[in-house]
Symmetry: none
Subunit: 539 residues, 2 copies
Amino acid sequence: MTERLYLYDTTLRDGQQTQGVQFSLTEKQQIATALDSLGVDYIEGGWPGANPTDSDFFAAAPKTRATFTAFGMTKRAGRSAENDEVLAGVMNAGTPAVCLVGKSHDFHVTTALGIELDENVENIRASVAHLVAQGREALYDAEHFFDGYKANPDYALKCLKAAFDAGARWIVLCDTNGGTLPHEVHQITKAVIAAGLPGDHLGIHTHDDTGNAVACSLAAIDAGARQVQGTLNGLGERCGNANLTTLIPVLLLKEPYASQFETGVKRDALQGLTRISRKLDDILNRVPNKASPFVGSSAFAHKAGLHASAILKDPTTYEHIPPETVGNARIVPMSNQAGQSNLRARLADAGIDVAPDDPRLGDILNRVKEREDQGYAYDSAQASFELVARDVLGQLPRFFEVKRYKVTIERRKNKRNQTVSLSEAIVVVKIGDEKKLSVSESMDASGTDRGPVNALAKALAKDLGPYQDIIDDLHLVDFKVRITQGGTEAQTRVIIDSEDRDGHRWSTVGVSPNIVDASFQALLDAITWKLLRDGAKPA
Amino acid sequence: MTERLYLYDTTLRDGQQTQGVQFSLTEKQQIATALDSLGVDYIEGGWPGANPTDSDFFAAAPKTRATFTAFGMTKRAGRSAENDEVLAGVMNAGTPAVCLVGKSHDFHVTTALGIELDENVENIRASVAHLVAQGREALYDAEHFFDGYKANPDYALKCLKAAFDAGARWIVLCDTNGGTLPHEVHQITKAVIAAGLPGDHLGIHTHDDTGNAVACSLAAIDAGARQVQGTLNGLGERCGNANLTTLIPVLLLKEPYASQFETGVKRDALQGLTRISRKLDDILNRVPNKASPFVGSSAFAHKAGLHASAILKDPTTYEHIPPETVGNARIVPMSNQAGQSNLRARLADAGIDVAPDDPRLGDILNRVKEREDQGYAYDSAQASFELVARDVLGQLPRFFEVKRYKVTIERRKNKRNQTVSLSEAIVVVKIGDEKKLSVSESMDASGTDRGPVNALAKALAKDLGPYQDIIDDLHLVDFKVRITQGGTEAQTRVIIDSEDRDGHRWSTVGVSPNIVDASFQALLDAITWKLLRDGAKPA
């Protein structure tokens, strides 16, 4: 008989505390959808009322299978739960579950809040009772619980019991400062259960300040806690929260957890884990951590010669799990064999059929690797990948040739001493025997300079003669820039998402130390791919 | 009475298995020196004979206080230890200690080596006996020990005993594939000790494939092991080794370890930890991981408004250790999450003192929020934040004015039909009454076009008259681009990290729909901030 273990995601709330991370409304919606497809049990969306983005997000709440949860804090002293406007802001979001953080460490009650210990207990009780009376599932985040327990176990337990007796579904033991070690989490969680709080009402919330967030979460589960909180890619305040991208595969694949528990995330959904992890990095424009457990691009890379040769005999010699279980892939530098089955699958996606023993498969793989060494990334730029493959296979028509381009960016003060800027692009292409010269500037309808890439895109698409009908409806929907390598050797990678009027989307990539030139390459690929897809005939 | 716990560093050997890492001879020497200044007990230098760099490094062995160690493998079957040329290559390095990896998992003996189980035991015995006869301190790395113990405990223990009885000073339990969880490491290490191998002869070597490398190391120490292996910044094969940059402060600062153990690293040396961690990233040209426990730049960053206000009352409210203990620093970033208490703390960091009731605090906060709505991000760009604050406070001197700039990017085919590109920038500044016109192009020494931002940066810094001395040593070390908002309304955010010859670093931000103009703003802030910091007098 398996037991139920609940996964609680706080990427959208505690994850937003990561330095440098500021989600937009659209990003929050995308992330919530990805989390829901994975299957986590709870999605904490943010703190309604605390900032405009969080309020807007709850107002346009996505439909999720997961229990959608609003975060807030227990009512303040000196007013009733009903009359606390911060708490009212949280309740107004109308979520089925509400998680309120409150104190459980005596030092924080007296130092940070400056109120009496009993007042705090009453604030907890009244707040939770208010949630329950309003028909919400109530969660109580016991902030600094482990430090509080070490300082004053009776008081810390009293806070938990106030929440539990008032009807909280979950009491979450939080190691807010992240300094507690796994053996302490284990002992203290056991003590909490021994004091009468049932394990299937206890959650664990850890941070990675000692590199032990995952281990502390497991230690609490070992002791009996049945809800675990964390974030995708371990985002979060300071060193981050427990990384769900690590914890989830540990819980689903490793014993004793795999046999003992059932969670909202099913074994099959694990295959989407690497993709979801990379998607989050894409949204945040962060460079994915290669060394991430399970989902990092190096997680199954076998560099040591001894390892690589044994892997060829039997992958279990140097792999703790099969990489495909989590949607990742083995990398054996110096061995092209590993990649060919992946490659054929991707070619099939592009409608290109190549026999398994075709030697050109190796040629394509070499070309892709060579370009990836230069900074190209084909994981998301499927359209550019297809162009590379067709080029190697001799299936890429030459629609037109760009002879040259020139872009000028100017900024100056005008006569009224206002700063004005303008970009201008000239593109010369040859179609068949005909040479065409186009010029565009970057000003949009509102008079704003939208920059050199905009001017270049407009000039390039302005007059492509016989192809004009096909590319007229093409427009840029996203543009991502990443610097690969550091310092003076910096290369710029640009990924462009394009869309046509039928809503088809495709992604292309360009790389150069010159950001405008990298963008130009990606634009060129975007146009070429559309001509190819729509069956344009070379002039 | 404290016990001795030994720290064994393998950055130069297992750390070199990191994907993308390849140390040069000089880099190995720099890292060995840094490790020795920290105080680790053993430095494993590499595998002499395996590659030219490792051989050269041992030939020019640095003098270290730490026990310098060569790595190799147990002799192969069918020859004596004396006649194994791989082992001879390792011995020839002449190090006081030698660590040999060998099998202890029956499956690997038969599958990877293809020899009899007893042959392997004899190889271990004879190899260790050979080291001891030659007067070396012998270490035996029991590869795949935990998996081997789970599969066949008798055989795994037999391998360990062969090494121990032959005189090995240390038997190192290796979780080579990184899949073992902390509770298993704890149980199995206890079982090894119960089987007669003394804990003060046992080492632990873990990998981070489940995010538990640090926890597994602690679990082995808890069970009685007295040597712990790891790498700086957690470098290593796949997901990396146990991170010594995390483990060392845990062992020195956290109980029960701090009271129980003495190591080669002393409390005072910990203050050098952050510097050593960053130095390694510098050597490898890697972007430091902000979220690294203890040494990451975000490890003591307090972004949540509630945290920041409590930190001002007492830093222990939200910090598990004082950041200066490990040579790190507290950061209270500014963002739209934060309120006035964050703001005052950040102003204080910049040396700006504003009274709590000063209405200009509200003005600064409004300006910051307004600019964040436009796409600016100040939580990493502290230097730009400081300029905004000083501007509101009327404390920003006007050093010079940029009248205009013009950047040209051209790509064309040359006479040999090669594609060539070049960028050129003209900048016109006014300093006092003097107008200065500078021009630069983007070509670097190797003839590569490094793009428009490079040309602009060079032109801007080319001739700033009276300020030239101050900005001469300024150079760009990192450049990050992010598109905020999507589609046609896209804004580009550029963050630039600059450095001077004293190693000071500062970050600035620029935002515009025009990527070149966003970069220009960030460059301008970088120069202005340095002029301000170095006390330049406005012309």
